[in-house]
């Protein structure tokens, strides 16, 4: 039963084989050596990438999802290498919930954290805590002012330390895990202007917070690795999994989020309208031509809208396929009166 589907799927799963022994090996002495050297003190951009285990990734996403629409927070265990890498082995949740951009661990959470990590060694998890994650349900992966403050404090006292942000709502909307890893620059450091990075839509009520702090940190690419057993399990899971791919209905699940996005676009357009109305004709004429395409507010809104539309089309594709599969037979017999979708 060598189906093409399975073949492609297996082909897609060709991972650079990760040697279990090397990845799970943990040498406290080596970690201490790196810690004593503190290479991140000399180079603010010392850490370049993040490798995350499959189990950590799924745990973080599931925790974030279970907490939505509230923000949740947790910690990550792992190690650092001299290859400028964070290796995240596992993650565990903290009993902290928050609203908006103010997740903060209180005293209770600290106690939880201490007892949790102390006992981890007994089950073979020897890695140190080396970062925190929290969720931004519905408004994208970036660090807010409070997050920057928290991360800066951690980086002063708890190095090496990594911040991870995940957006469970957008993950569901786009069908792709929306996750970002960040490190802040020390206070007073101004990074060279590299131009804007990849653009991401941010809701109107958060845009100010984002804009003020977006130059205080940089993001690191995240790569996921699997151990040898994960690979087998994932391959076997596909045999049961294709049903879920077919039966999920992204349009239905994300209706609320889509509405929010449209409303957000409308608000942003309103604001642009107000701004240009309040400016005199003369000032518009005298205005400097826009330096970059990204500077144009209208263009930004257009990108937001296009992203939302893309997600809708994606969901629609699923529905059309299902309709053709399961209703195609019925509609064959009454083709002459079959309405085209635009009619009704």
């Amino acid at each position: 039963m060598a189906s093409t589907a399975q073949k492609t799927w297996e082909l897609e799963n060709q991972v650079v084989p990760v040697d279990d022994a090397t990845i799970y090996a943990f040498d406290q002495a080596e970690q201490d050596a790196i810690f004593d050297k503190k290479p991140w003190k000399e180079d603010v951009n010392f850490f370049k990438s993040v490798r995350m285990s499959a189990v950590a990734m799924i745990k973080i996403v599931m925790h974030a999802k279970s907490g939505a629409p509230l923000e949740v927070m947790g910690l990550m265990q792992g190690k650092v290498t001299l290859d400028r890498e964070f290796i995240i082995m596992d993650a565990f949740p903290l009993p902290v919930e928050g609203t908006e951009t103010r997740v903060n661990a209180g005293a209770g959470a600290n106690e939880f954290m201490v007892t949790f990590t102390e006992t981890c060694e007994r089950i073979g998890k020897v890695e140190n805590v080396c970062g925190w994650y929290h969720s931004h349900p519905g408004y994208g992966c970036w660090l807010s002012g409070i997050d920057v403050q928290t991360q800066m404090t951690y980086q002063q006292h708890q190095e090496p330390w990594l911040a991870v942000v995940v957006d469970p709502v957008r993950t569901c909307a786009s069908g792709k895990v929306d996750i970002g890893a960040f490190r802040t620059y020390p206070a007073g450091y101004t990074p060279p202007d590299e131009g804007p990075g990849e653009y991401q839509p941010i809701p109107l009520d958060k845009i100010e917070d984002f804009g003020v702090h977006c130059k205080q940190y940089y993001s690191l690419p995240i790569e996921v690795f699997k151990n040898s057993l994960d690979n087998t399990i994932l391959e076997l899971l596909w045999n049961k999994y294709w049903i879920d791919t077919l039966s999920s209905s992204p349009l239905l699940h994300n209706r609320g989020f889509c509405n929010q996005m449209v409303q957000d676009c409308v608000q942003k357009l309103d604001q642009i309208d107000m701004n240009s109305a309040s400016q005199s004709r003369f000032r518009i004429l005298m205005q400097e031509p826009k330096k970059r395409k990204e500077d144009n507010l209208l263009n930004k809104v257009a990108i937001d809208a296009a992203k939302n539309a893309g997600e809708q089309v994606q969901g629609l594709a699923s529905q059309v396929v299902k309709f053709a599969l399961f209703q195609g037979r019925a509609s064959c017999s009454c083709r002459e009166q079959q309405p085209t979708p635009m009619e009704s």
Binding site: T115, I123, N296, L325, S331
Partner: protein, 303 residues
């Protein structure tokens, strides 16, 4: 089938499997050969059991008997309860192909201390999984056992019944697992749009479905010609699926579908309009720059 009707309806989530796998490989790499042990968490509603999460446990081996570290277990359980208040303790997991003798004592112990009177066991056959190539077998070497305790000669005895289970995922979980499974390719193959990924996943599923249907069709043909024995159960289920396909209300479904289709296209239209506005404004800006009076008088002194 009879067992399914009488027993539990177990829905297993991928996170648990991945978590067990991490646990097994971690122990193997550390050179600890013993069987791993952990607790299962999830939600229970009637006979439906959703296994959402799991955590590792410390097992103590003494005189051939495996027991758990109670203090550790209760502390961890309380911590997970604090974070996931809706979950409850459901059972335990370990490795192996079938429950061993020592597991009975362990099970009793867990029964005594756990918040669940009737925990069940999940066994992952890690050995089998690492040896065989995945493509050769269709089934996950994972088994779920429901234990029944009855008194025999004054002693409580545990017997194991295998319970069928299904793999279930939530939307976010499905995306996360997909992401993990495919992350290597997107990094290697460079940029690929979300839409291509989505549709390729869809087409793979459709191929899978068509393969399954072809197999069923072959089987029924064989039965018709007497080459295969009649399995009433299979035939009955096939019939009910065929009938279910016919009995949906085509008109109302079509209406729903049209509504959804129009909503989605409306969003696309809105996005297009926004984009048109942005481009028009861009064009206007450029136009002003090129043709405003100051510049014009410079370029065309007599115009």
């Amino acid at each position: 089938m009879a067992a399914a009707a009488a027993g539990l309806d177990v829905h297993l989530h991928p996170l648990v499997l991945i978590n067990v796998s991490d646990h097994v490989v971690r122990f193997r790499s550390a050179g600890r050969p013993e069987r791993v042990l952990g607790a299962l968490l999830g939600a229970q509603e009637g006979r439906r059991v959703d296994v959402h999460n799991s955590f590792e446990l410390v097992s103590v081996e003494s005189e051939g008997e495996r027991t758990i570290d109670l203090e550790f277990f209760q502390q961890r359980l309380a911590q997970y309860m604090e974070v996931f208040p809706r979950y409850e303790f459901l059972g335990w997991y370990s490795t192996g192909s079938q429950p061993e003798e020592a597991d009975r004592a362990l099970h009793k112990k867990i029964q005594e201390v756990g918040a669940n009177e009737n925990p069940f066991a999940l066994l992952v056959d890690a050995e089998k999984m690492s040896q065989q190539k995945a493509s050769q077998s269709e089934e996950l070497p994972v088994k779920v056992y429901d234990a029944t305790t009855h008194i025999e000669h004054g002693v409580a005895k545990v017997t194991w019944n295998e319970v069928p289970y299904i793999i279930d995922t939530l939307e976010a979980e499905r995306i996360a697992v997909n992401h993990v499974a495919k992350s290597a390719t997107t990094a290697a193959a460079g940029y690929s749009s979300d839409f291509t990924q989505h549709t390729s996943g869809l087409s793979n599923s459709v191929v899978m479905l068509s393969n399954r249907i072809k197999e069923l069709l072959e089987h029924i043909k064989d039965v018709k010609e007497g080459r295969a024995p009649k399995n009433q159960e299979v035939l009955r289920q096939t019939l009910s699926i065929c009938q279910a396909l016919q009995s949906v209300h085509p008109s109302s479904l079509k209406q729903e579908f049209c509504g959804e289709f129009n909503d989605a296209t409306l969003v696309v239209l809105l996005a297009t309009l926004t984009k048109v506005c942005a481009h028009t404004s861009d064009l206007l800006d450029k136009f002003q720059l090129a043709y405003d009076r100051k510049h014009r008088s410079r370029h065309y002194p007599f115009g």
